[in-house]
Amino acid sequence: MDAFLQRTLLRQPSALPGFGLSFGIMVTLLSLVVLIPIAALLLFGASVGPAELWRVVNTERVWLALWLSFRISLYAALVNLVMGVILAWVLTRYRFPGRRILDAAVDLPFALPTAVAGIALTTLYAPRGAFGEFFAAWDIKVAYTEWGIFLALLFVGLPFVVRTVQPVIEEIEQEVEEASATLGASRARTLRKVILPMILPAALTGFALALARAVGEYGSVIFIAGNLPLRTEIAPLLIVIRLEEFNYAAAAAIAIAMLTISFAMLLVINGIQIWSRRRIGLV
């Protein structure tokens, strides 16, 4: 088996043993845990048939849930894009007391379970919560509205842009900034014309990751969203509702719609990324 795999797959024979074993473990676990389940969803979708899938998806409730999920995810990812670049810049370029704590805090949304974040944000922003009261005085409702969903998605997507942009800023050689300044560019112009193009591809990667995470997010959102059908019901929640009714066809249809839209979005973002890399000659 090992010899067969080595003959058919390896481009270069290797003296190291264990190709067959490691390849086997990798492919077996990957298939069992990830590939077969995803294939099962697609097969199930195929067995239901495209016409029936479309009939299930093409209802006002599903469209509104998908629209809500992708729209608020986009807003949250955009704010995270801007704040992420600022945070990455502040954390790598400036020295100030407490910097390390801030740097570590950026990762909290990765480490904190989403259900914990969900109930904490809801408690803070509910009409009688610490921050909710403040907004209530201005007649703004945060929890149980789209604003609440936005906050939860802002939270879960926070680290992505920071963590993709930080290493790029660290690698920028100050000589290019000096050269730009010597040639008479103002600091603002240097930032816009020299630094920003270098950061952009990484920032877009982070943006895409934050967006993908936000679109699929469930745990933190359901506590703060209010979950009113047609109003504050996100697409993943609708999948759970259909599953609890044992309506597998409808659940699978919404899931496939989500996967399709996400995939299309990632393609577009990848395209922008390649374009922005080419523009600064990174290929």
């Binding site: 473990i25 704040m83 963590r163």
Partner: protein, 292 residues
């Protein structure tokens, strides 16, 4: 005329590669305010809500039967899922970093796939594969091995969402280290297994620990995927995050926030260990490696 420029007030020196001080401090203030509102405030809220009736009342809620079984289940799931994912990560990194084979790029994409799939969809996939209605699941249930609404399903769902963590951490580190060390060990007569144990593993141990740490944090906190496959049977298939939801919906605020506080404490310990690893072993961890 010519002395105009000489008599101009001297401006404080500022390097051309920094921003004006007021911009710098405004950006720092903005960052601090953003993180205070988005990260520190929710964290603080968890502990304040948990301790509203005192520490003793809070701790007592953890001793109740449902809470105890949720904690036990979460520990069990992590104890199965995390080592399996670590084994996968090691195998995948060894295979991808040490050999040049066809389809490598495609495999890396497949390993990253779980990051772009919603946890709820992941759970749905597992229900459709192993649920009682499916071919495999039906057969397994008939033979007394239910997957969905039982421990194996929860483990599978947890493994799905945490799948890439260890592999992604190890692959870049192992690629960088190349295979010269291993080839030397083999030349000196070591067996393949011994080479792996005494050469490869020590070389990647901190990266492995880093990956395991992140994988574990996510495994213990996973909600969406587990919610779909667990059936939320109280005292049986409710993990800690699911039990938090149940307590919260029953208005058992102290119980919900105490369990949340326990998970938040775990998250803080994870972050602390992660920061220490980054400071101490920066050159041996993928996340911080590019700095050098």
């Amino acid at each position: 005329m010519s002395d105009v420029s000489l008599s101009a007030p001297a401006r404080p020196f500022r390097a051309a590669t920094t921003e004006a001080p007021w911009i710098k401090w405004a950006l720092i203030a903005l960052s601090v305010a953003f993180l205070a509102l988005m990260v520190f405030a929710p964290l603080l809220a968890v502990f304040i809500e948990a301790l509203q009736d005192g520490l003793w009342v809070a701790l007592e809620t953890l001793g109740e039967r449902d809470a105890r079984s949720a904690i036990w289940l979460t520990l069990t799931v992590a104890a199965i899922a995390v080592p399996l994912n670590a084994a996968f990560g090691l195998a995948a990194a060894w295979c991808i970093a040490k050999y040049d084979f066809r389809g490598k790029a495609f495999l890396i994409t497949l390993i990253d796939l779980p990051f772009s799939v919603s946890p709820v969809v992941a759970g749905l996939c597992i229900v459709l594969t192993f649920g009682a209605n499916s071919a495999i699941g039906g057969w397994l249930v008939d033979n007394g091995y239910p997957i969905v609404f039982a421990l194996p399903g929860i483990v599978l769902a947890t493994m799905f969402v945490t799948f890439p963590f260890v592999a992604r951490e190890l692959i870049p580190v192992m690629i960088e280290q190349g295979r010269a060390d291993e080839e030397a060990a083999l030349t000196l007569g070591a067996t393949g297994w011994r080479t792996f144990r005494t050469v490869t593993l020590p070389n990647v141990k901190w990266a492995l620990l880093y990956g395991v740490l992140l994988c574990n944090a996510r495994a213990m906190g996973e909600f969406g995927a587990v919610a779909v496959v667990s059936g939320k049977i109280r005292g049986q298939t409710a993990t800690m995050p699911l039990q938090i939801e149940m307590f919260y919906q029953e208005y058992l605020s102290v119980a919900a926030f105490t369990m949340a506080g326990l998970l938040a404490f775990l998250a803080l310990v994870t972050l602390l260990l992660k920061t220490l690893l980054e400071l101490r072993f920066a050159d041996q961890i993928a996340a911080t490696h590019r700095q050098h």
